[in-house]
Symmetry: C2
Subunit: 251 residues, 2 copies
DNA sequence: CAGTGGTCTAGACCACTGA
DNA sequence: CAGTGGTCTAGACCACTGA
């Protein structure tokens, strides 16, 4: 038996498949086009379906494919650029920042949240839930934690519909002295997954932002974006459009 | 047959397992501690090894576990905070920015790189390769593309050892007018994977940064960080330490 | 209800590590 | 060389979609 590429004999089958499929996608498929089904593709490449699926998973993770149960696998459009921490000096909840409020509650701060906010566990915190949509797609969800102490002027008796707007309005009365963000990889919890139209465990980019007013932390936001379809942009613009995929080929 | 939780009967087994393991890690294990091997764990939970592995993969993706072939699975330490785009107005290659140069070459710009740089394909570009280490761990790799036109004062005949330092030095002579970054999920190519001590296809956070001098793009950097072990920080500090894992529990 | 992707099994064998 | 995680197979069945 001879192999055509003895030097790459070590390469896992699924990784090689990924490359082959990736090239084929670029050459022979249009965005939105539907691929042959998995059983068909596996047979065509002479591998088990599980192996084929490993390759597809990679490509989906990289934003090249989109798979939907009961429907099929399609070629994904380029990732959506989502601007994060857009204009310095801006509190969350500006009028047209792309977010839509879906709920708000007041409760005692769990330990981890309290720690991030620099308050005692159990102190009262407003929890504003928001979703971000681009076109008609939900690309991100967010939980914004605002200590009750940050918004002392908040009226008492608020209707559920008035709660979130009031909290955000009060927040804007504070002078924002700075904000820091961190980005890391996570997996979608059941609730987020449903809102993002993904299965639980889907890879997400988690952005944690701390908003400061004076020396204190006035609020903390935890935002969750679909990792397969989003590219998070920081700084003045988001125009850079070299993807990892293309850059790697170039190297 | 009755299930103890009829309302969660729909939950995939591997997802439930992930949760159970995650709780067990927090309660019964120390950072660095080694877990029972996969065959043992699968037997203990009464699932196939493949199913157990799906749960472990999730936890590794989330930075909770570290798996090494031939060694075992250990509880991972908290993610390393890596500062990205640290001080505004700073070119890459400052003296102590955590990067170490590992090579430099000059070649014709491939199409994608040329486009990002705003130059014609085939124009000459210096390609500086660097790695970033924290402690003795390589957490990131980078390719910095600098058009030859950006560094006109570069001496001719340079020894390989002098090439990269000279390019970075020339770059610092330009006035930096701004920089934009984008973060997205990718998978490690063979070369990056080796440097990051991961297998090909490992999830990485890809940061693409465009450095501007005047209206032109003076350089583009593509940095690749281990997604399992890194948390990328933007802005003044990186002190926010709510992880997705903990925030989700709190919600 | 046909067709799709998602989950799960039981098993074999390979690549790698460190004693 | 024993023990670990990584790869791969062949198959069954489930959940979901849209005609």
């Amino acid at each position: 038996m001879t192999t055509t590429r003895p030097e790459t004999a070590q390469e896992p089958k699924y990784w090689h498949l990924r490359t082959v499929l990736d090239d084929a996608l670029e050459r022979e498929f249009e965005v939105g086009e539907i691929l042959p089904n998995e059983r068909e593709l596996a047979a065509r490449f002479g591998v088990a379906r599980a192996t084929l699926r490993q390759a597809l998973e990679q490509l989906e993770l990289e934003g090249r494919l989109q798979r939907r149960r009961g429907v099929g696998t399609t070629v994904a459009p380029p990732r959506t650029a989502v601007s994060v921490a857009p204009s310095p000096g801006t509190w969350p909840g500006a009028d047209h920042d792309g977010w839509r409020t879906v709920g708000c509650a007041e409760a005692a701060a769990p330990a981890q949240v309290a720690e991030a906010l620099g308050i005692a566990a159990g102190e009262s915190v407003h929890t504003v839930r928001r979703v971000r949509t681009v076109g008609d797609r939900t690309v991100g969800t967010e939980i914004l934690y605002v200590p009750a102490a940050s918004v002392p002027g908040l009226p008492r008796a608020l209707s559920p519909a008035e709660h979130a707007p009031a909290v955000l309005r009060e927040l804007r009365l504070l002078e924002l002295s700075g904000a820091e963000s961190a980005v890391e990889l996570g997996s979608a919890r059941a609730e987020d997954a449903k809102q993002l139209d993904r299965l639980p465990g889907a890879p997400v980019l988690v952005v944690t932002t701390r908003y400061r007013a004076g020396a204190a932390t006035a609020a903390v936001a935890v935002s969750t974006y679909r990792a397969d379809t989003c590219r998070l942009t920081f700084g003045d613009g988001g125009a850079v459009d070299i993807t990892h995929h293309e850059a790697a080929r170039a190297s």
